[in-house]
Symmetry: none
Subunit: 401 residues, 2 copies
Amino acid sequence: MISLNDIKELSVSNPAKIIFFIMDGLGGLPHPETGKTELETARTPNLDRLAKHGSCGLSTPVSPGITPGSAPSHLGLFGYDPITYSIGRGVLEAVGINFDLKPGDVAARGNFCQVDDRGLIADRRAGRLSTEKNMELTGKMREIKLPGVELFVLPVKEHRFVVVFRGPGLGAEINDTDPQHEGLPPRDPVAVASSSEKTANLAKDFVSQAGRILAPYSPANMVLLRGFSELPHFPSMQDIFKIKPAVVALYPMYKGLAKLIGMTELACKDNIKDEIRAVKDNYSKHDFFFIHFKDTDEAGEDGDFDRKVKKIELADSLIPQILDLKPDVLVVTGDHSTPATYKGHSWHPVPFLLYSSWCRWDNLEKFGERTCLRGSLGIFSSLNAMPEAMAHAGKFARYGA
Amino acid sequence: MISLNDIKELSVSNPAKIIFFIMDGLGGLPHPETGKTELETARTPNLDRLAKHGSCGLSTPVSPGITPGSAPSHLGLFGYDPITYSIGRGVLEAVGINFDLKPGDVAARGNFCQVDDRGLIADRRAGRLSTEKNMELTGKMREIKLPGVELFVLPVKEHRFVVVFRGPGLGAEINDTDPQHEGLPPRDPVAVASSSEKTANLAKDFVSQAGRILAPYSPANMVLLRGFSELPHFPSMQDIFKIKPAVVALYPMYKGLAKLIGMTELACKDNIKDEIRAVKDNYSKHDFFFIHFKDTDEAGEDGDFDRKVKKIELADSLIPQILDLKPDVLVVTGDHSTPATYKGHSWHPVPFLLYSSWCRWDNLEKFGERTCLRGSLGIFSSLNAMPEAMAHAGKFARYGA
């Protein structure tokens, strides 16, 4: 595999436009009655036309057999090996709620939990309390004062919140306090590097104050912290690929992740048509667009085969609008599979389609998991997605003489 | 490729059962008259049914073009990169005859050979003497005494034996004494690290005493030693994959190898039906079973195309008994190819079949080398076999948030 440093040497800026249309969780599994996956079931005349004159294949997100979370699966598509470029859970949650994390901040993911009168964990998620209750309780925790640092306590959803420590000399090399099993006491936050000792003590102080504040609110009477982390230092997509990248997404997590690697956020309202309009409105200002379509993943997670089919058909119906923009390269794929029968992210490779003037026509009759197996890109690491797109956009110089 | 350390982090214990049914040397080459391989020729209705609703592909044992021995080819299937995890030949032979090798023991593979009156090697295998003669001569060599160490001299088969040195302060960094060519004298065992000098001197003493004892027994009048080695320190499959693995095999080499990576040996008598019965009898005690079927490889080595076909058909006929156990994941493949036309191990990728509830049906009409080319697993490194099986058994947590 070629390194990002090599890619940086090869990348050249030109006016060609690349669009990545990512249907989250696109890949599926056969419906037990029809034997067809969601994508194979969907009527997708526009994608099918592209599959005829484009290049198709199946993209493996992290490594065969590995089920990725959304962060590693997207990082791979944008050329960042998720095994090397990892993002801590605390940072991801903070970024996911659009919190403006600064360099040097330490973020941790928090769970409300329930402890019994011996201090042992009875429920690691405090009965998945409501988001409203979460907002009330995180509000109370904002009263906590810690010496020498600013503290942010922010609700996420249900039992999940984020805590951010801001101040000089902090470090994130701290163990999780969540023992991952009920019947055990929460662990103390312990520094695994001396540079993080101060922060570990602050975290301990935070947990102890939180316990006192939450005592009357059983089942949410204690907190667990994990994924202490700082903003990663990733090279930007501008720097590596010499492009001006933009993201249009409805969920903060995807916007946040994209911004971490240098994408500019394009404002949009609340549906995929708005997302495409945002690309249109900003088409002259950028040469790389990441359009994130969440609905396919949600339907898959819900186990709703038919809804996933419908959402794929909706996405297909928007392809002509995207083609009207005349991108030099259009990539349509998913970040990972979320089969409706499996009701969750899975490890199965993801259908992938690249359309440009420089494709060896695959002549596939349909865009689908099984047809893509016969596509010219084969089964490949998602890390190849960006190099393929860059090549087809004429944005790579020749390697060697 | 994801590392074993990463895999260890992802692995979770659950009750799901995985069975690896390994037909040794499964892969073949076309019969010159029919154009079909052994597997393509065999009637395999049960495997064909699995190929329809399972995931197929071709597994590359070590690296394309590389013909593996049995140890590296099996290590790869169990997730251990054979390029990193190598086992010395001495250890492998000792383990192969079920010798209870201890940490610190140094084992070497021995050959009886014939030297002429000038001390030059006339026959590196002493005319492939009979195993009976071997047992007689290794019996005589047991009279050899070496200062400060225990010595074990054990027959293997024909001209092959094992010698094991046991005692404090031994080392295995010693050159082979076999010059690999006839007409040359045996080399002295020479230490290539100072920590092995004592052992090299003991080995030299052993060779010289063996020469005196064997002098009257031409053509087996001298010994050659190679593959000086100690027990390797491999992480166990329990530790990496959080499984309770078991092996059922008829040949000591496979049992020994499997035990080196933590598998428990299940007792069985002398044929593949007994092997499957042993799995059945111990089904509740383990969640990973490696069933080794040797006959396919032997027929291939003998160049007996028809016998290999028959042995594959025998294996196919046992698939229903294995399915009756209701494994969550069944993998049927070989460790390498042994084409009957080639009469030996070869480098060709090996047909691979994975059957579980979470497969994208490949809809293949037959399990065979050429159909597997159209399977959803593609042509892949055998190192992916375990991750794929673990994923399909729900034994991997999600990678990243």
